[in-house]
C-alpha cells in the first residue's frame, strides 16, 4: 500500500520534470501561477479533514479554515492565470 503510493509519487515527480522542461519565457509567470493553482489540490485533504470531523470542534475549526485557505488558492490561482493568459490571447486576436 505505502509502497504503491511511493511508486505513484516518484512517477509523478519525474512526469513533472519531463512535462515542463521547455517553456518559452513569456509563459513562466502564467505557468507558475497555473501550477500554483494546482497546488490548491490540498483542498481534497481539507475537505476530508472537515467532512469527517470525528475529532470534535477543533477539527471542524481547523478544517473550515483549511478549506477556505485552499479555496482562495484554487479560485484565486485559476482566475489570475486566466486573466494573465487573456492578455496573450487578445494580442494574437488583434494580429489576425
Amino acid at each position: 500500500m505505502m509502497g504503491l503510493l511511493f511508486f505513484v509519487f516518484v512517477l509523478a515527480i519525474f512526469l513533472g520534470f519531463e512535462l515542463i522542461s521547455k517553456v518559452p519565457s513569456q509563459l513562466h509567470t502564467p505557468l507558475m501561477s497555473g501550477s500554483n493553482a494546482i497546488s490548491g489540490i490540498t483542498i481534497v485533504g481539507a475537505l476530508v479533514a472537515v467532512g469527517f470531523s470525528h475529532g470534535g470542534p477543533l477539527v471542524t475549526v481547523l478544517g473550515v479554515i483549511a478549506v477556505a485557505a485552499a479555496m482562495i488558492n484554487v479560485v484565486g490561482g485559476y482566475l489570475v492565470t486566466h486573466r494573465m493568459l487573456g492578455m496573450f490571447k487578445s494580442k494574437s486576436a488583434d494580429r489576425k
Binding site: L19, L27, M32, L47
Partner: protein, 487 residues
C-alpha cells in the same frame, strides 16, 4: 493486487477513484498545454476542470458532512475571486506569492486537523477513517512522518510566502534583512525541527507528541520567515518559484497522510515544475540555488558599496531624447520593474509604434529576471499589445548591441549593470546582463539616482555614452510620445 487496489480506494466507491484518475490526467494535460503559447489558455481551463472533478469526487465520499464544507468553500471562493479580479497586472507577482501562502497554510492545517483526529480517537479508530476496508494496512509510523513533514513544509511555505508578498508589495524593505547570529538562529530552528520531528515520529501518541507537533508548526513558521528575510528583493522571483514548489510538496505530503492518490500526483507535479522553473531562474542569474538561498546579497554587498562608483551622471531632457530617437535607425528598449510600477507599458508600446512608423527598427530586450518574477515583463508588454516578434532575449541582442543607435532603459537597473561583467567584487558578478553600455547612446529613464532593488551601485550611469532622463517613467514616455505626435 486486488487487495492493493481495494486499499487505495479508501472510503471511495470505485467510481470516485476513477474520477481522481481523470482529475490527475486533466492536471497533466493542463500543465503540458500551459507550457505552450497557443494552448496555454485552454490548458489552464482543463486543469481547472480537473480541480472541479477532484473536489466533487471528494464530496461524494461516503459519510461526508457538508455543512462546514460549504461554509469554507463559500468564504474561500469569494475571497479568491475578489482578490483575483481586483489585483492589478503589475501586482501579479505578489498576488501569486500570497495565493501560494494560502495553499501552504491549508496543508499545515490539514496535518494539524488529521493529527487531532488521531489524538482524539486513538489509532485503531483513526485508521478506519483512513482505510475503512482494511485499517490494519495503515501504518502508524508512516502517518506520523507524513503529518510531521506536511506540518513543517506547509508552515514554512505559508510564512515564507507572506514575507515574499510583503517584500514585493514593498510593505517591508526589499533589501536583505540580516542580524547578528542569524545563522545560529537558523541552525537552532532546524535542530528544533529535527528534534521535535524525531520525538513525534517515535511516539506519535506519547505524552509529548502534541507539544512536538506544535513545536514543528511554530518552528516551520519561524524558518519560513528567517530563510526569506535575508534574501534580497532581486532574488524574489527565485524564492516565489521555490515556494511554489514547496506548496506542491506539502500537498503531496498531505496526500500521504490521508492516503489519497490525486493529492500525491498533483502535488508532485507542482513540486517538480516549481523546481524546474527555479533552476531556469538561477541559471539566468548564473548562480546556484544554494548561493541564492544562503549567501544572500548581504555578505558581499558592503565591500561593493565601499568602493562606490565615482563620476558624473549626465542628465538629458525629453526634447533632446526625442531628437536622438527621431534620428535613430535602431532602438532597443529594456523594460524593468520601474515600468511596471509606473504602469508605463501602454505608453511604451505607443512610443515603440511611433518609432517603427518613423522607419526605426524597434526591439524590446527582455531579461529573464527583469521585474519581480520570471516573464513579468512579457506579461506586461503582452497586456499592452506589443507584438511578440519584437521581444528578444539578451543572448540574441547582445552580439548586435554595437550597431544599436539608442538603448532605452525604462526602470531597469540590475539587469543592465555592467558591474556584472567588469567588477569581480560586485555581488552580481557573472550574472548575464543586457550590454546596453555597448550601444552608441544609452538613455536611462529613472526616478532618481537610487540604486536598484538589489541595492547595488550601477557604473552604467557614469559612462560617457549614458544620459539620464529623470522622472516618472509613464510621464516621461508620454512626453516623448507627444513630442513625436506634434512633430
Amino acid at each position: 493486487m486486488s487487495q492493493h487496489i481495494q486499499n487505495l480506494l479508501g472510503h471511495a466507491a470505485p467510481f470516485i477513484n476513477y474520477l481522481y484518475i481523470l482529475a490527475s490526467v486533466l492536471f497533466i494535460i493542463g500543465l503540458k498545454m500551459l507550457s505552450r503559447a497557443d494552448t496555454a489558455r485552454k490548458g489552464n481551463l482543463i486543469s481547472a476542470v480537473g480541480m472541479l472533478i477532484a473536489i466533487v469526487a471528494t464530496c461524494l465520499l461516503v459519510g461526508m458532512e457538508y455543512k462546514w464544507i460549504l461554509v469554507g468553500i463559500a468564504i474561500g471562493s469569494a475571497i479568491g475571486a475578489i482578490a483575483a479580479q481586483s489585483v492589478k497586472m503589475t501586482s501579479m507577482p505578489e498576488m501569486v506569492g500570497l495565493l501560494n501562502g494560502f495553499g501552504g497554510l491549508a496543508s499545515m492545517l490539514v496535518a494539524w486537523a488529521e493529527y487531532h483526529k488521531w489524538h482524539a480517537m486513538g489509532w485503531a479508530e483513526y485508521a478506519k477513517t483512513l482505510l475503512p476496508d482494511n485499517p490494519a494496512a495503515a501504518s502508524e509510523v508512516f502517518a506520523a512522518v507524513a503529518i510531521a513533514f506536511t506540518a513543517v513544509v506547509g508552515a514554512l511555505t505559508f510564512s515564507g510566502s507572506l514575507i515574499a508578498f510583503l517584500k514585493l508589495a514593498e510593505w517591508m524593505p526589499g533589501k536583505p534583512i540580516l542580524f547578528r547570529g542569524q545563522q545560529f538562529v537558523n541552525a537552532l530552528v532546524v535542530l528544533a525541527i529535527l528534534a521535535a520531528g524525531a520525538i513525534f515520529c517515535m511516539a506519535p501518541t506519547g505524552p509529548n507528541a502534541y507539544i512536538a507537533i506544535a513545536v514543528l508548526m511554530v518552528a516551520g513558521l519561524i524558518l519560513g520567515i528567517t530563510s526569506v528575510i535575508p534574501i534580497g528583493g532581486a532574488d524574489m522571483p527565485v524564492v516565489i518559484s521555490l515556494l511554489n514548489s514547496y506548496s506542491g510538496i506539502a500537498a503531496a505530503a498531505a496526500g500521504f497522510i490521508i492516503l489519497n492518490n490525486v493529492l500525491i500526483v498533483a502535488g508532485s507535479l507542482v513540486g517538480a515544475s516549481g523546481i524546474i522553473l527555479t533552476q531556469i531562474m538561477c541559471k539566468a542569474m548564473n548562480r546556484s540555488l544554494a548561493n541564492v538561498l544562503f549567501s544572500g546579497f548581504g555578505a558581499t554587498k558592503s565591500s561593493a558599496k565601499g568602493e562606490g562608483y565615482k563620476g558624473e551622471a549626465k542628465p538629458i531632457s525629453a526634447e533632446d531624447t526625442y531628437l536622438l530617437l527621431e534620428a535613430a535607425r535602431s532602438v532597443v528598449i529594456v523594460p524593468g520593474y520601474g515600468m511596471a510600477v509606473a504602469q508605463a507599458q501602454h505608453s511604451v508600446r505607443e512610443l515603440g509604434e511611433l518609432l517603427a512608423a518613423n522607419g526605426c527598427d524597434v526591439r524590446y530586450a527582455i531579461h529573464p529576471v527583469a521585474g519581480r518574477m520570471p516573464g513579468h515583463m512579457n506579461v506586461l508588454l503582452a497586456e499592452a499589445n506589443v507584438p511578440y516578434e519584437q521581444l528578444v532575449e539578451p543572448q540574441d541582442v547582445n552580439p548586435i548591441m554595437e550597431t544599436v543607435d539608442v538603448a532605452m532603459v525604462i526602470g531597469a537597473n540590475d539587469v543592465v549593470n555592467p558591474a556584472a561583467r567588469e567588477d569581480k567584487s560586485s555581488p552580481i558578478y557573472g550574472m548575464p546582463i543586457i550590454n546596453v553600455d555597448q550601444a552608441k547612446t544609452v538613455i536611462i529613464l529613472k526616478r532618481s539616482m537610487a540604486s536598484g532593488f538589489a541595492g547595488i551601485d550601477n557604473p552604467l550611469f557614469f559612462k560617457d555614452n549614458s544620459r539620464m532622463l529623470f522622472g516618472d517613467a509613464k510621464a516621461t514616455v508620454s512626453a516623448l510620445v507627444s513630442e513625436f505626435k506634434s512633430a
